[in-house]
Every structure is written in C-alpha cells, then in structure tokens.
C-alpha cells in the first residue's frame, strides 16, 4: 500500500511499483484490500495520465468522487489505438507492446511499459499457480515466434518468460521465419513420449490448428506422458481455419494424448498486464479467472453499469498491474459472471447492421483491402 498520509499528487512511479510488487506477492487480497490498492492506482493514473484524467472528469469520476473500485472509469480498448495512454513520457518506455492490428484496419493499439518488472512478476506468479501447478520446471515447446522476431508482441514476451523461468534447458521454439518446423517438433514430441517426463506445448491457438492439420496429413498421433499439458491463447484470428471449441480440444486431445482437462486456455490482452486462465477445457466454455490483483465486471456497454450475475454483457477488467496506462478497460469481449469467475462468450466488435447500412467492421475490412 502507498503510505496513506501522502497527497495523491505526490505518489511517485517508484512508490506505486513497489506497492504493486508487494501486493502481487501477497497470497490473496480481500475486496476491501483490492479496493484500496485500486484507488491508489487510479489516483496515480488520474494525476499522471492527462487524457485519462479528462475522460474521468467528463464521466464525473474523480479521485474525490470515486470511493468504490467499480466506479473507476473504464477506457474502451479502441482508445489505445488512437492515443498514447501513459503516465510516463512514452519515449521513456522500456518496452511497447502492440496489438496485431488484425481487427482494426491495421491500426495497432499500444501499451507503454516504463519497466517490465510488474508485468513480469504478474505473469510469473500467476503462470506458476495456474499452469505449472506445483511443477518447478517442465520441458516446453513454443508454437509462436520468439521475441526477436516480434519485439512488440506481449505474447512473445509472455512465452519467452515462461520458457526462461519455468522451462527446462531443452525447451525450444518451433515457429521460425518459415513457419512451423514440423520435423523438429515431431522429433521433440517423440523424445518426450519416450522419456515419460511431462511435456508442455504452448502457443497461439491458430498454430495448434496448423499442427493438427499437419499431423492429420501424416496420420500421426502422440500419447504424451502423464502430467503433460497444453496452453493455447488468442483464438484463430483468420490465421487458420476456424474451429469450434469442442472440436478443437477434442482434436488436440486425440492428436497429442493430453486430456482436455489439461488443455488450458489463457485469455490475455496487450492492454493488460495480467492474464486469465481456466482450469482445463473438459467442458466449454470453461470458467475463467485471474489472480487477486485483477477483478472483472460484466456491464451494459452503453450505460457502463454492472449487469446482474447471469446476464450477458461486455467484460470490464480492472488490472492493477497495468499501472502505467489505465487499469480499467472496457473490452470488446462478451461475457457472463459466474461462480468463481466469468465465461467468455466471444467478441462483440464486429456487429453488422441489421439492414443494409454499412457498419464499422465492414468498412474497416474494406479499408484494409
């Protein structure tokens, strides 16, 4: 916690970072404790992020009026594409993560990080709890380009960190400049199968589809040892054929011999510093949840008000680890709050008109050519 006696204007970046690292390191946090930290982070962002301050004032939400973390105004993720939302001068950023730009006419949303210390801590603490599940290290195969190839990809950084901190020395990436290196990957899978040691395959959902298609073409299947697991993320994004969730996890399970309950989907965004996980995909859609430094709401997007549990709306995330930009973001993901977390019900960015008038999604598609 930032010391209470201090005027909010004076909270420094170093202090907020220190407070957040300590907060992440706690075992858990009650709603009241989350709220205190959230209000501190809001005060910091309100003081240091001028466009966000103006947005908050326009919504009638200032550090004087906001008493409840749920009242902290949420910024739509499209705003990250139009403007720089950073508490520190953007040129001081150690790293800038950018969206792929596949859904917004090539315009890429940016998140500036003056340090990756909080991002990395958030990722690792959560990753160990939700994916490693007690294992110190595991041999990993990565189905995504590395950080050198994609320096602005938060997923590339995520996977690099996973491999470096939680992977064994013989972990390797299998996506190079020429795409999936199937020969090297099948060799690794064969070795893992023979060794009896658990193996982890992590990467973009669409890369798994490419792998499934390649294995099917060769008529190959694997039975990875007990304890093996899969992490996919990000959906198909037009990079592979679309698959329904059940068909996807059935196929993964059949091709690699990993039970659907050990197939974990990570839900993350460039505009966040924390990820959500499910506890396997035996039943779809599974319940997603995050650690104690992120909380989610389901709102009516027009009024911004919370919807009762069980109603479908748009997800808002309050990610305290995303301290340098804005912590409260209004996503383009439909969701529903359930016991223990939320269910993700797909994207809501591409609403077509019900008639013959041109809607934004199609217009952007055309603009992209």
């Amino acid at each position: 916690m930032v010391s209470r006696g201090k005027a909010w204007l004076d909270v420094t970046e170093a202090e907020i970072i220190e407070a957040l690292l300590a907060f992440i390191d706690r075992d858990e946090a009650s709603e009241a404790e989350f709220e205190r930290m959230a209000l501190d982070v809001f005060a910091y962002q309100f003081a240091n992020n001028p466009p966000y301050r103006r947005f908050a004032i326009q919504r009638g939400r200032t550090t004087l009026t906001v008493r409840d973390w749920r009242d902290i105004p949420a910024v739509p993720i499209t705003a990250f594409k139009d403007m720089t939302l950073s508490c520190t001068p953007p040129e001081r950023a150690q790293r800038v993560f950018m969206t792929s730009g596949t859904t917004q006419g090539g315009v890429r949303g940016k998140s500036h990080h003056p340090t990756l210390a909080v991002w990395d801590r958030s990722m690792l603490v959560n990753f160990r709890a939700r994916f490693m599940r007690g294992l110190e290290r595991i041999e990993m195969g990565i189905l995504f380009p590395d950080e050198e190839a994609m320096p602005n990809s938060s997923l590339a950084h995520y996977l690099a960190l996973a491999k470096q901190e939680c992977g064994t020395a013989d972990s390797e990436g299998f996506i190079g400049a020429d795409g999936l290196d199937l020969a090297r990957l099948t060799a690794a899978l064969e070795r893992a199968q023979a060794s009896g040691r658990p193996y982890a395959l992590l990467g973009a959902s669409y890369s798994f589809v490419h792998l499934l298609d390649a294995l099917a073409a060769q008529g190959r299947r694997f039975a990875l040892p007990k304890g093996s697991r899969i992490l996919d993320t990000g959906g198909f994004k037009g990079q592979s054929r679309e698959m329904g969730a059940d068909a996807f996890y059935d196929a993964l399970s059949a091709a690699l011999g990993v039970d659907r309950s050990a197939c974990i989907n990570m839900y993350g965004m460039t505009e966040l510093s924390t990820q959500f996980y499910d506890d396997g995909n035996a039943i779809c859609p599974p319940v997603k949840s995050g650690p104690h430094w992120i909380r989610s709401r389901v709102v009516d997007p027009v009024s911004g008000r919370d919807l009762p549990e069980g109603s479908t709306g748009v997800l808002v995330h309050h990610d305290l680890a995303h301290f340098n930009c804005v912590s409260a973001i209004l996503t383009e993901d439909a969701g529903i709050m359930v016991e223990g977390g939320f269910k993700l019900l797909g994207r809501v960015d591409g609403a077509d008109s019900k008639g013959c008038s041109l809607a934004v999604a199609e217009f952007l598609k055309a603009a992209r050519g």
Binding site: R54, D82, D300, K354, G355, S357, L358, A359, F363, A366
Partner: protein, 483 residues
Amino acid sequence: MREVAGHLPGLSAEEVEWRVLDFAAWGESVQVSVPVLSEAQALALAARVRENARAYLKTLSVAQIVATLDKAVARLLDRDDPWRRKAEAVLPIVTGYDAETVRLGLSGYLRTFRAPQLQRFLAEDFANPGVLDAFQPAMKGGFTRAHGPELLLHVWAGNVPGLPLWSLMSGLLVKAGTVGKVASAEPLLAGWFAKVLAEIDPKLGECLAVVWWKGGDAEHERVWLSQADTIVAFGGNAALAALRDRVPVTARFLSHGHKIGFGLVSAAALDTRRAGPLARLVAHDVARYEQQGCYSPQMLFVARGGRLSPRDFAEQVSRELAGFARRHPRRALSVAEAAGVASWRTTEEMRAFDGEGPVVFGDAADPWSVVLVEEAQPLAPSGLNRTLKIVAVDSLDAVIPLIAPFRAFLQSAAVAAAPEELFRVAALLGEAGVTRICAFGRMTAPEAGWHNDGRFNLLDLVTITEIEQSAELAAEGFADYVD
C-alpha cells in the same frame, strides 16, 4: 405468439421441415417457423414456379399485374385489414423497431407502390412499357420486346420492414417466376405479401415462392442458384462475394451491397428560422430505422459561415434526437450493437480529451449520440442506432474529397442548400458516385421509381428480343400476298 413464414405453392405444411426462430422485444415474444426445404422439394418448387409463370404470369399484361399489385398494396395500407393488423402487431417484436415507426414506415413505404407509382416506376425504365407485353416498333427500325427472367431469385437481408417488397414487385412487373429468400432478421413480411397476392389472384400466387435458408448455407444456396437465371442479392460485401462465387457463370447476378448515407447542410440553411425545422428533419432521418438502412445518414457535413455555427446546429440536432427518443424509444440493442455504440462514442470522447478534438453531446447513457468535429474528416460509419458525427467544413465543395475515396459505398445524400448550390454540389456528388440526392426528412423514404444504387432496376432484369428490320423486310418476301 406463433407465426409461419414463407409461401410454398404446391407444398403442404406437413411435408416440410420447419425451424423456429425466436424474437422478443417490447415485452412480447414471437416464434416464427421458417421452412427448411430438402433439395428435392426445392427443385420441384423451382420447376413449379417457373412453369406456372410461363403458363400464367407471362400471359398477363403489365396493366393487369399493376392492378393486382395495387389491390394487394391497398390491403396492406388498410389498417383494418387482418394482414395489416398482423404486420403492425408482429413486426415491432421481430425487428425491435417501435410500433409507431413500423406503422408509419409501412404506410409511407407502401404508398409508393400504388398503381400510379408503379406506372411511374415502369415509365422510368421503359419508354414504352408495352415492350413487356408484345413487340413494339423500335426507333431504329424493327421491333423489340422485353422478357423477364424465367426464374428470378431474390436473396434478401436485414430487418428494415418492407425492403424485400420493392425487389419482389420489380420482378413481378417484368413477369418473372419469383423465388424470394427471406432474411432471418425479418422473415415475415414478404411471405405475407405473397399470401395476400394469392388471395387476390390464386393463379398469380402460384407463380412465386418465399423460402428460407440460413444465410451462408452453401448447400441450400447451391440448389437455388443452380435454378435461377437471374439473382438479385442484398447484403454485406463478404456475403455477396461468397454468393457470387457460387453463381453459375450463365446467370445474371445483381448485387446491392451495404451503403453509407450522409447529409450536407449549406450555410444558407443555417439561420435562426430555418435551422430548427431542419434539425428536426435530420433527427428524423437518423432515428427512423435506427440507421439500419443503406439510405440512412451516418455523417453530416455542415458548412461554416451561416448565422448559426456547425456547433449550434449540432446542439439543435442533439435536442431533436432527445425529443425523438421520448416519442420513439430506441429499439433494444443486442450486446454487440450496444458495444458498437459505446465503443464509437467513448473513442470520440477519448479523442476529445487528447487535445483539440471533437465535442461529444449528451450523456453516455442517452439513447443517441452526436459528435461534432471542427477539422475535416473523411466519411466513416457511425456507431449506428442513433449515433451521428457532424463535420464542420468551410464549404460544401470541401466535402467532395472527403467522400470520393468511398465510391463503392455511396448511395444517398441529403442536401440542404439553395437551388444554385444544390445543382452545383449535386454534379460533384454524382461524379463522386452518389446516386440519390434528396431532402432531409426523406432519406429513409425514397420516391417511387427511384433507381436503387443508381441502376435501372427493372431494365436490369430483362433481356430484349429484337426483330431486326432485315427480318421484317425479308418476311415480306415470303408472304402469300407477295406479287
């Protein structure tokens, strides 16, 4: 409430598989059964419609067809007619538009299909509509006759009530055996119209069918596309492209893609006396059908230099939209639509806070949004559902480069300007690709006989058979009265 969609001459309800579509709005719900035909049923229906049209519809004169359509339209205009009452009761639930919007919209729209308007419609495309009945002497010599398609397939999209009727009637006017595929978003009105026609002229009712399949269902599409010689399709470009790829190369494919409407307000229209009523008309065009129609305005270009500034005018439009919302509440939005509106509005708000940006009127929770920008911005869609961006410009001429890059998406533009400026700007708009210029207040109600997307909507459907002068002259040589 339960309703049955479609019109399937020769098929009994028992032999057809039905799927139920659920609709709910305004506290009521309706289940609509839509037919799912097997391939054999579809092929038999196509053959039947084609044959009936050949045996009957093509023997009618255009005047007789106009008379029958006029009777059918009159019934739907009669507020005591059971079909009309059904439409007024059910369509608000299916489409979500408020009852008053549906009632006014239907009447306004159907009025453009009475006999005099249908005749005007014909006259717009045919100097002599008699060519649809018999060979008529041609100016160049010889004779010409126009034939409609043997089997015309309409693929409709969207939920703006009545839009399908327009292409349905076009097809019947050129005596085409007609099959219409209704949209899942509004599957009812076209089928009802077919039933009304069948009540008035049962034999005519056998010359058309109204069917359904799930949009994009390649198997169903393939069957129908293989049967039609002409296809008129509505929808987004992706859906149209997918459809076009399955159309046999020998068939004629006429498509109407999604469009973006806009308006222009000259400085001359912005004095204290004129601006108020004009703002009301703008609000009307924005609110009617929640900007779902291709003719609905999504952006307004307002010239500086009038008594009122573009900002004053934006305030007036905002007030009118607020008033309109009280009289005609916005239809309930789906999560995706609400997200679209919110994302559009908040993005503009954020821009407003990032320095010299737009002015956003009203409150985020209001059922309308108006954004004013002072710098020139190219044409772009709004968030729909009563969201409008007003762009201040130095003159209406400055609008042309802002819209010209989007030629493929242009159709309707409303212009408020004095005559001289109207014609000057209209010429520029036409060059840029605009095909319809109308007054504010009329954007969602095209006049009878308009050329949708700038095409000759009847002429595009027909093929012309010509008896060349040579044949006529040569025939003389074979006559038994020849010397």
